[in-house]
Symmetry: C2
């Protein structure tokens, strides 16, 4: 059996022990004689899986009781419509910080449903290579919500400080940083994430929503996009993505039992990112593209300054089983996504390979 170091931005690496358990249980989950793929979502045994996944997520993320956890489908892109349709019935105004392609898409879709989808700041002027400084006096005081994309997968930036939005609910897309560090859920109105980076295969969207924000959807909101539909039915209004939720549960067990929780996860992630950023800061060939103070722990974009050399590096890295290092098609260069499941030695070996590449090509 071959295993590569997979630096994909998502879907991405899963812990090997999770994959091994999933394979071992594929035909017969805990003596049930069924694969989890085959289980009725209304069966008692499947109930233990989805309830167990929610309980673990609540424990690992320390989610307060006045928040609902929803297991949905359709990815962050579906939430780009669902969020304004659910929250935008007060004043119909919301504020957005544009820190990349995903925040921009979220703002554009929200503008179709809101009276005002106001851009309070943007870092587009420098290809989203930094997080804009925010001045709370410019925020819309009576906004229904304030929207950010916390970690920007394509550009490799992260909000280290949260905007001070007062009573306006803060809504954050945490698709590419969920479970990577502890996070104070109580500071947010909604946290949501596509699961395909740090949590599970593609096909599951986690929405963590404060209860008072549920139940105010627009009349035109499709039943399936209304948070109340799913909150009232324990994410079982219709058939949920059962198997993907099962893998998420295995990943949460890995974080809790094998890693030791999110504080420990953060330590490991800081160690991995530190190894890579230290090398980028010392290399005369490779350079990080993000201002140091806004660097992401999860996504590390870098360039050589030469398209030809970039292509050569990606090609040779792939041949050496460091895969999916090519940067996003909208920015070029390279990007190493080093999510939770990337082991420390994967980053160490990548840096070793980069050093050798630099020596060979200088």
């Amino acid at each position: 059996m071959k295993r590569v170091y997979n630096f994909s931005a998502g879907p991405s690496m899963l812990p090997q022990s999770v994959l091994e358990k999933a394979a071992a249980e594929m035909l017969d989950y805990e003596g049930s004689g069924q694969s989890v793929m085959e289980m009725s979502h209304r069966s008692k045994i499947y109930g233990t899986i989805i309830e167990g996944a929610e309980a673990l997520l609540r424990e690992v993320m320390n989610i307060p009781d006045n928040y609902k956890v929803l297991f949905l489908q359709g990815g962050a892109s579906t939430q780009f419509a669902a969020i304004p349709m659910n929250l935008g019935t007060g004043t119909g105004k919301a504020d957005f910080v544009l820190t990349g392609q995903w925040a921009t898409k979220a703002q554009k879709e929200a503008a179709r449903y809101l009276k005002s989808a106001n851009v309070v700041a943007s870092s587009k002027d420098k290809t989203f290579s930094y997080i804009p400084k925010l001045d709370p006096s410019t925020f819309t005081k009576d906004a229904d919500y304030f929207y950010i994309c916390m970690n920007n997968t394509i550009y490799g930036t992260v909000f280290h400080e949260l905007p001070e939005t007062g009573d306006v609910p803060l809504v954050a897309d945490i698709s590419s940083c969920i479970l990577s560090t502890p996070i104070d859920v109580s500071k947010f109105g909604i946290l949501y994430a596509g699961a395909q980076k740090n949590m599970a295969p593609a096909g599951l969207t986690i929405v963590i929503v404060r209860e008072d924000l549920i139940g105010h959807a627009m009349d035109i909101c499709p039943t399936m996009l209304n948070f109340q539909t799913h909150a009232d039915n324990g994410s079982m209004f219709n058939t949920p993505p059962c198997y993907t939720i099962y893998i998420a549960k295995l990943v949460l067990e890995w974080i809790k039992n094998e890693i030791g929780g999110l504080a420990k996860m953060q330590e490991i992630n800081e160690k991995k990112a530190g190894i890579l950023y230290s090398f980028l800061d010392s290399s005369s060939m490779f350079k990080g593209t993000v201002v140091p103070e806004d660097r992401s722990l999860m996504n590390v974009p870098f360039i050589t300054g030469s398209d030809e050399l970039d292509a050569k590096f990606v090609k040779e890295a792939t041949e050496n089983d460091f895969v999916n290092l090519k940067g996003h098609r909208s920015v070029g260069g390279m990007r190493a996504s080093i999510y939770n499941a990337m082991p420390v030695e994967g980053v160490e070996k990548l840096v070793q390979f980069m050093k050798e590449f630099e020596a060979r090509n200088s």
Copy 2:
């Protein structure tokens, strides 16, 4: 390893050879060093999987070139809104036949978006135990579409004849009969199905849509519910449910290579249903609940006439590894869902068990 006969209405049994292949490939798909769960959806190797799945579906179902195949999320329940939002911009009228809970939900959701969601016929008067006779002279001549739920999972009925809708596009939910028999796709405007019965685990919705019906969505239609979004991007506008599509591909390979196509699949399904219906027609304890001419090949509801005896039967059946035979909570009694992956011997053994139960309790 234990395996049971699983009569679940969905999610439901998958072919054992599919599960075995998925388990074997879990950590390293074809020497890539990655699980399919971990693959970037934009990678070349994943491209072969999603394109392979579409090509196989087109071949097995004989889908004409002027139809798009979309791999979506959100289940049939999301399509209940998407269909009126995509098709309802002509006259804003559509016709519905109410043959059960799912058709009723589809009509109710469509009524939120259409000028008229007209019920042309219903079998609610007899707990949906038959398919209403339809009189085309009562159909709305200028409707944007005509809607049916082809196979009714809860009640065990199926449309053996299609409504004659002329130029009005026929839209059918085929969630619980897709791939069970050949079907003439060219007679439909849209065929769609949640995959979790005959095709894959939950979390994938297949939409087969005639090209001329794409591109007319309502202004309020969320980008992710607009068929054009996905048709223009080969179902890759955002991250699709990659692993579920991979399992669908394995199931399609099983139908093509191990079964020999849909005509052969129909033969096997008719044999299985024949065994069970013959017994129900001869038993003095167990009775089918559907009029013989509208019986489904996939879902077979039956009763003893005594709630107590029903409960005893379900309990003893479960103890003997015939699981998920309890009827839907809205109708009670029993239901055996005998989808493609249920082997003939599963039905034979169930009937044998029913005979013994009847002898013991008469």
